[in-house]
């Protein structure tokens, strides 16, 4: 079952990356980043079944960092929305050359 779980995690990671690259809504892009983090968590859990408990501890830390990242990222999205009145990343071109 290890191979299937690792391939599932690869598929989920790739779908998440496709979402980040294809969508323009910054909230959905953020959601897809969470999806990628979850795909990595799945591979950690699957390997921890065969190697040892450490994998599950890393998953615990990844989840905490994801929660912190979601809070700060959404705060940034709110403050950008106040300025531009949109969540479409095509409009955030202040740093574009």
């Amino acid at each position: 079952m290890l191979a299937e779980a690792l391939i599932l995690s690869a598929i989920l990671f790739v779908i998440g990356m496709l979402g980040v690259l294809v969508r323009r809504n910054v909230i959905i892009m953020f959601l897809c980043i969470e999806l990628m983090l979850n795909a990595v968590n799945l591979s950690f859990v699957a390997l921890s079944r065969f190697i040892g408990i450490e994998g599950q501890i890393y998953v615990f830390f990844v989840m905490t960092v994801a929660a912190a990242e979601a809070a700060v990222g959404l705060a940034i999205i709110i403050s950008i929305f106040r300025h531009y009145e949109t969540v479409d990343v095509n409009n955030f071109n202040l740093l574009k050359w």
């Binding site: 065969f50 990242e69 700060v72 709110i78």
Partner: protein
């Protein structure tokens, strides 16, 4: 039985993930994400990580997704049905990059999961014995509060920093 459940959960996870990416309404995307997270929690249970499955449901599907939902409601984006996919060259480039990385990942991870590698690893028996001796939560808690205690405390500080930072950034006047 375990195999069948795994494939059911995997199908729900992949289907939900696709709908997250290709759903127009952000609220719909969010609900499909919850389905994906719940089925991943089911897969965690199949791998005997019961504590993490509970945390996944409570923290991810419960707290983080509700935070996203609050932001969508706060910004009033729930009626946003416009197509916002990247078109033209960007779309082709995105699919090309994604396809390349998909190939590399499936090749590498598929190679890592062969039965020969599975035989070389310590195997599930050692984990079963650990869970039998210390319990499901005890087997995570013991290393967390001994070997990894510094990282654990740093995570607490990280959460405090994130809390203060989120309030400072989202506040109306700085």
């Amino acid at each position: 039985m375990v195999e069948i459940l795994f494939y059911i959960f995997a199908a729900v996870a992949v289907g939900g993930a696709f709908r997250v990416v290709f759903q127009r309404n952000p609220v719909g995307s969010l609900l499909f994400m919850v389905a994906t997270l719940a089925s991943l929690a089911g897969i965690f249970v199949l791998f005997e990580a019961h504590f993490l499955a509970a945390i996944q449901i409570i923290v991810y599907a419960g707290a983080i997704m509700v935070l996203f939902l609050f932001v969508i409601m706060l910004l009033n984006l729930g009626h946003d049905y416009r197509k916002d996919l990247q078109f033209g060259l960007g779309m082709i480039l995105a699919f090309a990059v994604t396809g390349g990385i998909a190939g590399i990942l499936v090749r590498q991870l598929g190679g890592a999961g062969t039965s020969a590698v599975e035989q070389a690893l310590p195997g599930p028996e050692a984990m079963d014995q650990l869970i039998q001796e210390q319990g499901i939560i005890g087997s995570i808690a013991r290393p967390l509060f001994t070997d990894y205690v510094v990282a654990f405390e740093l995570t607490g500080i990280l959460l405090l920093v994130a809390l203060v930072g989120a309030i400072a950034i989202a506040k109306r006047r700085v």
